[in-house]
Symmetry: D2
Subunit: 436 residues, 4 copies
């Protein structure tokens, strides 16, 4: 990541905080009671030093957590939650935890569930929000998907802010990825223009785990776990027949984190192809030649490919974009399947390709335990931030600590698998990439 | 199923049984010790009567189980196990249980594992059998696939019987489907021609559950369970967006049992398409019109299709066959995906299709508990039959009882979802098929 | 099971059936439409014959399924569902499927959910029934337990029938075990005395799988699957240390089906102790001596014990009964743990005991796929029977077919693991019982 | 944690490193090739600053990873792996990954598996090490436990070092908890005394996650996930009957991390009791009174207790220690069960207690995906450290980075749930603790 101008790390707030938090925390360490977090507690961006050199201090993040003084008077506050973009394990956990923190702990008067993403903020789409109750959310964390529904795409900010004002919404919690947070920023701009005390706080959601300043996003662990299940199946199929090849296409449009992690966890993957590392298919040292060598040595091979890998192989075939503005990807899985089959037709190895495309399977599951925890923690911290009147930010996770990250930062940065980083080196070390 | 000539139900045997079984069973009921099964214990084929009318008696199956007198002298017997065709959860359980029953209970001198299906019986393929040990099989029931490997296709019977004779194999247990059992019959014929005392006993294996006289085949329950997981995901995706359609393609070349059972277990499938029921896509009352109506009523729809369904929609496109002699199927999943998309492009419903193709995922898993049990039971009964010198038969399951079924019967009959049967009615009753 | 007087197999009905079934079945085979079932279709009790001898015909069960003519006019019918006794995986599936069949397919006007077992039929307990809606049941099959709640014990029949009359309930579906079905019989008697046209139909529920004429009860497969998980853990612990003993106590008050099936599925259990087979602990050939021999041979041992096993070892310690009238069991698990520890303190084997008591864990899970299917099938057939005006019966499963069984039969018979039967022999053959 | 004298953070090394690493890393950033880690790359201990104040710099950890120069000549090196103490999910993953890194990537000549913990280093115990092969480890990551076996307790250091010398072992990787690492230190001391170039590197293993400087230990996530399953069951049981109480005892001798995390993930726990927070049972504001209030409000309650909680309630009953030197705990689960039952016998609430004691179930499982990843990463970094000649240290995880931690530090510090920390606050916020 490039250097960050420190002024970008300032968190906007709606105004002075004059309400005492109703939460039973203290401001004193050692009294056995958990503590409020102060705004001047900040987490370093750089934590590796060279010898006795201090890392740069100016790059720090505001630490997340409950504030002693808050902005909103709970019993006069209406909060709303909206879930946008593709499904992700943990959405229902986020909704549930945010609801409970808002309603039971802060005691806000109403929590609304916006239907089907930003569509639900556009009255023209005709979807009224739900006023959530205990019974609505009690068991939803055991189910995949989102009880609120979701959709892609944004809507006219003025229309959405009109709706917020009409519905009396003071806090809007936006759960979603890049596009959603850009939409949240547009709402913030319109809210600011109108000088309304409406807090807009994001909770990052990305099955690909590719949002900057978010070490691990909720749902990612579940997705990797299910992806691993498919890789294990591909390995079973590959070793089951002579010269079997298990080929698995996994999610990962721009970032190969799912492929990287699931392959590393498997320990039985021979080749991993991700968007961050260009693919050379043919020729000496190319993928096909190395695959053939692997097949001759091991009698089988397992190949994992992220859906966004090798797009450079499809010159001049770039399609239009989807409703979220994401360019449509060419199908690298099918290309590989075809090219591998062609390659081995001309050899005496009777390779048999078993193709796995788990697609939505890995994201429509309920959150596993680890993601249930993470969803809970993110949601509660988003509520703390919102109640404190912070806005135009999301809750990030950095160095295993929860921090506030300005939306302008998040939407301008990206996060990718580092081809020189430890995890990718782990993949190479566990696969046939290094096989001579 | 058509009427069966009763003479077809006779089980062939290698010769008189003069060896006392080493198993500690008794021939007396009520002594607290399990009993040997007699050859004249037979299970009725028809068990439903109309009023006080006896069902026909001539159609009965020999009951499986340990015999008091056996044919082979255990300490001079070599048994071999071969696994053929596609993977199926429980293969390793079958290998393990057969091994233990042969080695530990009967005390046969050697148990060989033939490598990669019938290839391993053809020395030209260069794959020596493994002599199995306790350590080889101890933990394999927790793993998917088959430790022996598998392959499709058969080999010259004379070559394979030469191999059996050279290797001193007295018992060959053939685990596989239709093609495998046809291969087993060819071996039996050659063995008979040579008048060799070699027993060939089948264990039916079909992920599609379509082998006649086998109520439930091992691996099927696991496959349905994983298929259900994908259907559940498809439902989550479908309800997650406005007018979402979850489309799931499942295994089932000629028989839609996986689709039928997984859909019924789900209780959230709106349309199920199976090979046994022709598909009418377009026009009034056709699938597309009914899908549109469902979408308008419920705002979402889940469609499950077996891979062998709707092949009549691909007139004149029949491809060649695979190595097992199975005709290659046209891809009904992609056809539906395309036709549904086309259909809704012309309407004002912005339907969103989420396509699931779990393919091998559902068959590369370890056996679930229920299939572990079934695999164990089948394998031990196959060993009992083989030790008793029975041959040219497999172990079937009928009316919840294990029986001996001649291979000639199995390979000439088929098993399909009955479009007037209880399970298919259950599917219709649980779906949108009946929706007016 | 003892001989059954054939007159006991008659199914009672409320009266003549004059209403046409609204279900789209036909009465003709071969028209591609599923068929109504006639009352004279009967399933044989005995299906094994000796040579060419017919089995006795008089013992037959009425086949379950939809009837062409029904007793209740759907749009004037109120049905109620009550769940009683201990939890069992699949209760919610039963509620859901019965609701949908009643409401969507037959079109009855109201479906009530009785709260907390028979308590909910006693106004003094103060629990109003729920009027169930689609939304109430939509996702409940993914959750363990019962949304209606349950309780043990019965209530005064006249009070409960008063309630049925007051609430206008025409059909009562009683989901429960022995005690529940005895309670249902008491209601039937009171209803008959008052000559009211109220149908009382049972759905058998027993985690122990010990209800007569019910080959497999819903929830049992899930319970065995979870029990297997604990046994696998016990094996892992036992082999992890020198002379490790994994000891697992499983449910099974009077019948050891869970212990038997889970041990057989595991294939790694050395000793299985069930209520049906008395335990000899000490002395030559006793359990402790055999355990010691196993430990010396294999360096580890896995022991599975059903909670009801070895009660004869606790002479004169029989406790009172619980609210369902079941006698309280002495803790055989702890006894074994103590006696094993004592035994090895006096030897030079430093045995280490790892004790597993999964208790409620195995019954509080959601139904697995197989139980989801079975629950669905049972519930729909119970609705068919009730709509046809049948009463004083439950839906059984025999020879893999669904049948009607009179409550008087069910409550007078029992089902146990047969110590001479195939499954118990399978356990012995897979364990160290036969080890010399 | 108390202040750390910085000199304690120095990592010992066997001597100068003169061998080129065989791994294909580079020393240049930006060349697309992963990088060797330098010894002067250090990770800050304190990463939260107050405003613009630098945190203290002197407290830093050496960063883990591959070194450009290593100490051991691979083709003359023998490494050994030993697993000690209680089982933990991921042990087999650690063995497998360490083996592959040593054998395939560094190319050491032999990798030995020591049997049954430190017993295997004492020839008097009679257990020869295994020389590990690819086939031994290929599939072990899918199984629970450890293929090497384990044991508690240490042995005479001079005996163990004699064995290391005799067997020609250059590298000893000790996988275990506090006791194991103290044993490792004793070996290091003896090795140092003898001035032998033997590297002893630890991999921290603790199901309780209570080793200092190890943010998350392998197996912990799996344990929490299984614990969650039992809590979910307890909740299902509790809500299933009127006034049901689900009581779950979980692992956690001195630290309540499993109870804390599983309860937070559940979101349905009302009371959590951990060793770090004393229990007041009786009296006003005591646990029993609050439990009663919860039961009256919610009609059910779920209580989770760590096994080490409330030991102060057992004054004067402290038992002896086990073979690892851990004091035996009194059974808080049974005490609570008894005290709760007694409490409600005197009230008109007919509370029903459902007791869950998953014990070893949560630790005998195979590693889940997340722990598979962590095990792999820890093992490879331990190998990097050992090959570089580092010794008397283990691989820690701090701020999401892998670091080297001296054994003297690890064995003198502890890690506990912070009763003022974020996670415990999260538990309180999600439970009935705050309920007025």
């Amino acid at each position: 990541m490039d250097r960050l101008p420190p002024e970008q790390l300032k968190i906007d707030a709606l105004g002075p905080r004059q309400v005492d938090s109703p939460l039973p925390f203290s401001t004193v360490s050692g009294d056995g009671v958990g503590n409020f977090v102060r705004d001047d507690e900040r987490v370093l961006h750089e934590i590796v030093c060279q010898g006795d050199q201090h890392p740069a201090l100016e790059l720090t993040f505001q630490r997340a957590g409950p504030r002693e003084k808050i902005f909103f008077q709970p019993d006069r506050t209406t909060a709303a939650i909206v879930t946008c973009g593709g499904l992700c394990p943990g959405l229902n956990n986020v909704i549930r935890a945010a609801y409970y923190e808002l309603r039971n702990n802060y005691g806000v008067s109403r929590v609304l569930g916006i239907r089907h993403g930003y569509r639900g903020l556009n009255p023209a789409c005709g979807q009224q929000p739900l006023e959530l109750t205990d019974r609505d959310v009690e068991e939803i964390h055991k189910l995949g998907g989102t009880i609120l529904g979701t959709s892609r795409g944004s809507h006219e900010p003025s229309v959405m802010v009109d709706f917020l004002e009409t519905a009396g919404i003071d806090i809007l919690i936006c759960v979603g990825g890049d596009g959603t947070q850009r939409g949240a920023r547009a709402i913030v701009d319109e809210v600011s223009r109108r000088k309304r005390p409406i807090s807009v706080v994001g909770i990052p959601k990305t099955i690909d785990n590719d949002i900057a300043f978010v070490e691990r996003s909720f749902g990612f662990d579940t997705a990797v776990e299910k992806a691993l299940e498919h890789i294990t199946g591909a390995h079973v199929e590959a070793v089951g027949v002579p010269y079997g090849i298990g080929l698995v296409k996994l999610m990962g449009r721009h970032a190969g984190f799912i492929a990287t992690n699931a392959s590393l966890a498997s320990g039985q993957v021979d080749f991993v192809l991700i968007p961050e590392v260009p693919i050379c298919l043919a020729g000496q040292g190319g993928f096909l030649e190395r695959l053939e060598r692997c097949l001759k040595t091991r009698q089988h091979a397992v190949v994992v490919v992220a859906e966004g890998a090798g797009q450079e192989l499809f010159a001049d075939q770039q399609d239009a974009c989807d409703a979220s503005g994401n360019p449509r990807l060419q199908d690298i899985g099918l290309l590989l399947k075809t090219r591998i089959a062609e390659h081995f037709q001309s050899t005496d190895l009777k390779a048999k390709i078993k193709y796995f495309d788990p697609s939505y399977h890995i994201r429509s599951r309920p959150a596993n335990c680890s993601d249930a925890l993470l969803s809970n923690k993110l949601a509660r911290r988003a509520v703390h931030a919102a109640m404190a009147g912070k806005t135009d930010m999301l809750v990030g996770l950095y160095h295993n600590m929860f921090v506030h990250v300005p939306l302008r930062l998040v939407t301008s940065a990206t996060k990718r698998v580092d081809p020189e980083g430890e995890d990718w080196m782990g993949v190479l070390a566990s696969s046939a990439h290094w096989m001579s």
